[in-house]
């Protein structure tokens, strides 16, 4: 396989995952902006949405103030924002198009169909009433894409490179969400769960679709910051946790190792990160600092992505 093909597969999946995460972030931001006490707080909430999405710079390059309409437009439709859903879907499709021959028809049809439908949507038609439905649609298309990958692709190098893209992006996204909100998760003496905090923790869980799962998993009706953090970092049962992502990343790299009959340093690197997550416990993480832990994780995750690219000759 061409190094460029591997790279396109990787980025194709990364961008679909990013589009889905963007839709989730928007969903949460929008929900909060609707809440009764949000009048004052919603600007902060939108600002933290921008930070989480790493779109602050691109947003403020064009807009002075934070307004719901402009944020939604910037994160969904703005061509100048490389992480807008539109840009993500376009880049994902262009990557898929460049390696059309490596994809099954089903995977390609999801990518192509999603883009074709997306461009028909006029941004001004996405009013408040239509926004939730539209975000749902984006998430569903991303899920359909992953389903098509899982259900139709040979377990060969093409499949493994696309899985790497999905889970490296997802790990980055989960870590980023936690990091932006880390201060509200920090155990404080006054940690009695004020209304505001509970709402914030719910937000964190919701932005990774885990608020229901949390209740089932911990059999607990209140959100406890310690557990929220544990759920999203260490619990391998949770499909958006860092540990879970690394379970899949190491699997994909092992798969490549088998296909190519060759073990590379990046495989050990991933196993190492995975091992540290598996052995980790929240006490230590909070001791040494949640923020530091997450920053450190994101760095290693990025480094791994770069090393994978170098190992497999991404252009």
């Amino acid at each position: 396989m061409l190094g460029r093909t591997a790279s396109s597969l990787f980025w194709m999946s990364r961008y679909v995952e990013r589009a889905e995460n963007m839709a989730r972030l928007l969903e949460v931001g929008y929900r909060i902006s609707l809440m009764p006490r949000a009048i004052e707080g919603h600007r902060d909430e939108w600002r933290s949405t921008l930070t989480t999405a790493a779109c602050e710079a691109s947003y403020f390059a064009k807009h002075k103030d934070i307004t719901t309409t402009e944020i939604i437009h910037h994160l969904l439709f703005d061509d100048d924002n490389p992480s807008s859903v539109r840009s993500c879907l376009k880049t994902a499709r262009n990557n898929g198009r460049a390696v059309r021959t490596a994809l099954t028809r089903d995977v390609w049809e999801v990518l192509n169909g999603t883009w074709n439908e997306f461009v028909l949507v006029r941004p001004e038609s996405i009013t408040s009433e239509r926004l939730p439905g539209f975000l749902d649609w984006i998430e569903q298309r991303a899920m359909l894409f992953r389903g098509a990958l899982l259900g139709t692709m040979l377990r060969h190098d093409t499949y493994f490179f696309s899985q790497l893209g999905t889970f490296i992006e997802r790990a980055d996204n989960t870590a980023r969400i936690l990091d932006v909100k880390y201060y509200i998760l920090l155990p404080k003496p006054s940690d009695v769960g004020s209304d505001v905090d509970i709402q914030q923790w719910a937000t964190v869980l919701r932005s990774v679709s885990a608020h229901r799962a949390y209740r089932w998993f911990y059999r607990d009706s209140t959100y406890r910051p310690w557990l929220v953090a544990e759920f999203l970092i260490l619990r391998e049962e949770m499909p958006r946790s860092l540990t879970f992502c690394y379970q899949w990343i190491t699997r994909a790299l092992d798969g490549l190792g088998e296909v190519y009959k060759q073990r590379y340093a990046c495989q050990d690197e991933a196993v190492d990160i995975y091992g540290r997550l598996k052995l980790g416990n929240m006490e230590d993480i909070f001791q040494s600092g949640l923020h530091e832990f997450l920053q450190d994780f994101m760095l290693s995750n990025n480094q791994l992505a770069a090393d994978v690219g170098q190992t497999y000759n991404f252009p």
């Binding site: 396989m1 061409l2 190094g3 093909t5 591997a6 460049a98 390609w108 049809e109 074709n116 060759q262």
Partner: protein, 471 residues
């Protein structure tokens, strides 16, 4: 313009043989059925991503080429006659290219003016003396043919560089078989689907010496922004070869390699869909980022085969076109079986005077143009368009040739006003390697506007499935 040959109906209203069943079928299709089929076909094409980018349009807009569901049909005997003429012409074109880049016998014999070849921008001096495997230059040729009567066919153009459109031939057939399976039960339609396999065989047969029994083939594309990218991806997929961009290939130690996720892999045959100028910045255009530095030297050394060879454009140059009947005779010793459209060369003062006096009746084309751009179709142009064109022609006469407005045959086509005749042409795809292979069928293009003679997809033309019936 004489009377227009109708592919389905004789002048007396009776149905021509090959269309015996099609005629009834067309009559039985209700408007609703047709609309449903067209919608379904469109969604098939769109889902598969069969689109082409229109140059000059805002954004990188992607359009579907309109598809007409009424097939264009040849009887076996008609097709046989046509293919004999095509094969003769294609063999002569390859012999001509070999001669032009070697002894230049045809120039010495005075059959073509020397300057017309040697001063021509399509002549590639770097090709002189070079011996491509099996002596083949134009491995893939798309010969554009029009019909004007039961027995008269004219060649409009020999596309010897990187002819496109074969994916439409294949996908139109897929769509027809999906939409109207019963129609195929009633006819014995020669299959076109082995074109990719034939192309692969052709490419393997011209691998350089020392490539081994399983040569590595790649398709070299300019990338996803090229208007024919879909076709590049489609053909690579169908042939089972890598689809490469220039940056995926590199020259090392006298061989061509592609960058893979593992060790570099040696490449033997490059089916390139980028123009000569962009192939190799060290030999051709230095600023080109699409090609591979050092590729041409390898080619020269016989380490890699380029398909088609560089410099084949001299054989489809519009200024040379008028000489092709002579070319056929010169190399085959036979009378040409396919005719050329009578052509006035505007660099000739006598011809120019005639053309200027008859602009309203003629089609005037740029010598180096393609795709229906920059041409004048006299009979359908306004006075102002004709006068504007006259000025351009006078300013640079040698840039133009002119031809009579041919009465292209018309095929029944679904239009807004129901079934109506629309003008068509035909591009069969001819492969030359160890032997000449012609797919039974080709791409039929149809001018969808009433009375229009321009079938180019960039100018609103559509396509039809092309059937060759078996005996």
């Amino acid at each position: 313009m004489g009377s227009i040959f109708n592919e389905m109906l004789n002048p007396d209203g009776s149905v021509r043989g090959p269309y015996a069943q099609i005629h009834g079928w067309v009559g039985s299709l209700g408007k609703d059925n047709v609309e449903r089929a067209l919608k379904e076909a469109e969604s098939i094409f769109r889902r598969l991503g069969i689109t082409f980018a229109v140059y000059g349009a805002e954004e990188a807009s992607e359009r579907l080429i309109p598809f007409d569901i009424i097939p264009r049909v040849f009887a076996a005997s008609e097709w046989r006659r046509l293919t004999i003429g095509i094969e003769q012409r294609v063999r002569a074109l390859n012999a001509f290219l070999h001669d032009i880049y070697h002894r230049q016998e045809i120039l010495r014999a005075g059959r073509i003016p020397k300057d017309l070849i040697l001063q021509n921008s399509a002549f590639v001096p770097q090709m002189v003396g070079l011996n491509p495997p099996r002596g083949v230059y134009a491995h893939i040729i798309g010969v554009d043919i029009v019909r004007v009567s039961e027995t008269e066919f004219y060649v409009l153009e020999d596309n010897c560089r990187t002819p496109s459109g074969v994916s439409y031939m294949l996908e139109d057939r897929e769509a027809m078989m999906f939409l109207f399976p019963d129609l195929f039960k009633q006819h014995r339609v020669a299959p076109v689907e082995n074109y990719p396999a034939m192309l692969r065989q052709t490419l393997e047969s011209v691998a350089p010496q020392g490539a081994g029994s399983e040569p590595t083939i790649v398709l070299l594309t300019p990338g996803i922004h090229n208007s024919a990218f879909f076709e590049h991806a489609f053909l690579a997929d169908e042939m089972g070869v890598e689809l490469c961009e220039g940056s995926d290939l590199f020259v090392d130690n006298g061989y061509l390699y592609m960058r893979t996720t593992q060790e570099p892999k040696r490449v033997d045959v490059v089916y390139r869909r980028i123009d000569d100028d962009f192939l190799d910045p060290l030999t051709f255009r230095p600023e080109s980022a699409l090609g591979v530095p050092g590729l041409f030297d390898l080619y020269r050394a016989g380490r890699v085969t380029l398909v088609n060879a560089p410099g084949t454009g001299i054989a489809d140059d519009k200024a040379i076109y008028t000489y092709i009947p002579d070319v056929v005779e010169f190399y085959t010793g036979e009378k040409p079986l396919l005719r050329n459209v009578p052509t006035w060369r505007c660099n000739d003062p006598k011809d120019l005077a005639y053309v200027l006096a008859h602009l309203a009746e003629l089609v005037v084309k740029e010598v180096h143009g393609s795709g229906g751009y920059g041409m004048l179709v006299g009979p359908t142009s306004t006075k102002k368009e004709i006068e504007d064109f006259r000025a351009r022609l006078k300013a640079n006469p040698k840039n133009y040739i002119a031809q009579p407005t041919l009465a292209l045959s018309a095929s029944p086509t679904f239009t807004e006003a129901g079934v109506a005749p629309r003008h068509i042409d035909l591009r069969p795809f001819v492969l030359t390697g160890d032997r000449v292979r012609i797919t039974p069928g080709g791409l039929t293009r149809v001018a969808l506007k009433n009375g229009s003679l321009v079938v180019n997809s960039s100018q609103g033309g559509g396509t039809k499935d092309t059937w060759v019936l078996e005996d």
